[in-house]
């Protein structure tokens, strides 16, 4: 094992930075009376005419068992609706309602501004370096999980 004195602090910093970021992002989203996973679903659906449940799960990092509950609560708030697929009896298409779309159009640019502030002092190279570091760690984890297991496209492109 290499670097035994330093990797624990790196990983702790990953966890702390992640937690700090979620807390920061949530502080804005709470004003919309939404939770982060709920908002994530709305911004993923924004600008589309609807997505299959499975695709929505892939794009949002919410596992399917959990996603049902998140969608139920958004449906209760009148922000999304489920539409049965015409071609596959198992499938559902999830899409924003008019209210959901209005919220998306108003809140998403605000949220981008709110989050974008974190990077006010970053150059494009700084951001590229950070992203490259995270991608590398992500690949290291995937490699360690299963030798040769490749990640699907969505995990590296967006």
């Amino acid at each position: 094992m290499k670097n035994p004195d330093t990797f624990p602090t790196v990983l702790r910093e990953l966890l702390r930075t992640h937690q700090a970021f979620l807390s920061y992002a949530a502080s804005h989203v709470q004003k919309l009376n939404l939770t982060l996973p709920q908002f994530d679903v709305i911004i993923t659906l924004g600008g589309t005419s609807g997505l299959p449940y499975k695709t929505l799960g892939e794009k949002t990092l919410i596992t399917k068992g959990t996603l049902t509950g998140v969608i139920n609560r958004l449906e209760d708030k009148g922000l999304i609706q489920r539409v049965a697929s015409k071609t596959d009896g198992r499938s559902q298409i999830i899409r924003l309602t008019e209210a959901g779309n209005a919220l998306f159009k108003c809140a998403f640019p605000e949220h981008l501004t709110f989050i974008g502030r974190l990077f006010d002092d970053y150059s494009p190279e700084d951001i590229a370096t950070l992203e490259a570091d995270l991608v590398r760690l992500h690949k290291a984890v995937s490699t360690a999980r299963g030798a040769g297991e490749t990640l699907n496209d969505d995990e590296y492109e967006e």
Copy 2:
């Protein structure tokens, strides 16, 4: 706002990398019949004669409302015990039992090896760069939350 086309992908990568890492770490800890927060408490207590509840919360990133439940379940498993403070009627000292200590001594080195594998191809400079990037983002978040708010020592040193 600067870099509007790139920061969303960086943040998504932070979330994905974090999720992938947790899943990887959990796959080892599950073999001990523990969850990640439970194991985190055990390795935080390992090598000490006990820590006050408050200190434990600070070191583990588990908020105090949640920590009570995690400690209850570890107590039920016979791995830790609560000891009333002799000097402060409100405080409790949390410490490992003999069983907890034995598990720590056995499992912690294994876990370090398991996690250390992620960094087999990293040089010390690579790790330093990654950590610096994460610390910088963490500071950016803290700065955005409250101008001038300083982080306590523990968030940057370990």
